[in-house]
Amino acid sequence: MIDSTGNTVSTGLNVNSIRADFPILQRKIHGQNLVYLDNAATTQKPNQVIKSLTDYYEQTNANVHRGVHTLSIEATDGYELARSKVADFINAPRSEEIIWTRNTSESLNLVAATWAENNVVAGDNIVITAMEHHSNIVPWQQLAFKKGAELRYFAHNSDGIIDLEHAMTVIDERTKILSVTHMSNVLGTVNPISELAGRAHDVGAVIMVDAAQSVPHMPVDVQDLDADFLAFSAHKMLGPTGIGVLWGKVSLLEDMPPYMFGGDMILEVTYEDANWNDLPYKFEAGTPNIADAFGTGAAVDYLSRLGMKNVWRHEQDLTAYAMERILSLDTVKILGPKDPSMRGGVISFIHDSIHPHDLGTALDQQGIAIRTGHHCAMPLVRSYDVVAAARASFYIYNTKSEVDALVNGISETEGYFNR
């Protein structure tokens, strides 16, 4: 069902009322209404999240832990409450399994520099897919160089669907860690994590999930996935910039050395030595990003209220519509799965005559924000024999009429360059 303004209302999301929560959607860009389709890069923030930051700074702000004064106690309680909200959101068994980091990238680096540093030896291998974001390639590349280990990739077909059979052979007894994106930020592909986890565990490896593009968009349950580590960023799920999450199993986290040293991560220090605080603090050196933890809690509340199933259905609906409309242009090729039900709300595409950069500038003139370039996945984008692609990506506030604006915008651009 589509209402008079072209907004989807059948998916359980009331998009009109959602849009009212996002002040930035009132902005004019070159005199046009903003059509924000760069959500895979970062999402916009609702009033509820912005207000949680303002409230924190206006009423609660203090350094956390060990403070006996009221503000410090309130700040500590709120900081830990946010942690337990995140734990619930991904169904983590225990709140102390949630480590606050800066972003997905830091979460991945943390595991590479501690767990993998301690467990990977020469001759071992590390397995990733050929569709990873740079943040889930380079830490492993560097670790493999350092350790004399091998970095292995497993393939996907031209539709961007990973080849499970190939994966099963690439993962072998010398595999120590498998690190896989849950959803590709270029192709939109959703990968079969639990099957891969099964294989990883069979050979005694652990599996890390790059959930930067999944936790914001679909129900994610770390226990269902059978994952060992999982990483995501608040800024891609309505939350503030500067804060991300590493989830890990207690048994693994406990055996890992700290990543950074100082401040809160310490139990006792002498001039000669130091020992470490309990989880999760062992991994949180220095004053944490307290305000943005509050903001992340508010983002989780917002999404939980909508229901992640509804969020996912809304995006799938929009994606199906957008693929159909974009392909109707005939001048555009879409990367990734052809079947919209196999992908999330990310559509990377290539125009047969207009370079993504020129298209991006032209769409911006029309108020439409898309991303262009390699999307931090150079090897993948190059495997399509291009050096850049255009990408439109959706979130809870996007509508079918915005998809129409995109498609019209591309047509207008064609008209402009063919004048």
């Binding site: 950069h357 032209a362 402009y416």
Partner: protein, 156 residues
């Protein structure tokens, strides 16, 4: 939506007729045999690539060939470069690169410089689109460095 409503005419400064012409029909695209300079420059962030081949005779650029793929600005700019540098001395090329740099930064250039640049002045519309300046400068900066290295190599 019409062209006017869509605001695309505001891009006319960026995509001047000369620019689009060079983008669609780039000049000097044939390969140079036994080039003295054979250079690939690229901007991985935007996905712009340019290959520049040149023959240099006694400090004079005698022959240029340019190919590449990328956005209209990077490719047109490279084609304009090819047209300009043929027959110029390395000092003249260096001077032209400097003029282009200042043109794109929004600094004044002299009438004489404008004369030398000719069609290249069409690039000045890029100023209003600062993120595209890198595209416009890509081949110029690469060439300048390569030419300096070449001259230094010949001398030593």
């Amino acid at each position: 939506m019409t062209g006017g409503m869509s605001g695309l005419d505001q891009m006319d400064d960026l995509y001047e007729v000369i620019i689009l012409d060079h983008y669609r029909s780039p000049r000097n695209t044939s390969a140079v045999e036994n080039p003295d300079i054979d250079l690939e420059v690229n901007n991985p962030f935007c996905g712009d690539e340019v290959r520049i081949q040149m023959k240099i005779d006694r400090n004079i650029v005698s022959h240029v060939g340019i190919t590449g793929r990328g956005c209209a600005i990077s490719q047109a700019s490279a084609s304009l470069l090819a047209e300009l540098v043929e027959g110029k001395s390395s000092d003249q090329v260096h001077g032209a690169v400097d003029s282009v740099r200042r043109l794109l930064k929004g600094e004044n250039i002299t009438d004489q410089e404008a004369d030398t640049l000719g069609d290249i002045e069409a690039l000045q519309g890029v100023r209003k689109f600062p993120v595209r300046i890198k595209c416009a400068l890509l081949s110029w900066v690469g060439l300048d460095d390569a030419l300096k290295d070449h001259i230094a190599g010949v001398k030593s």
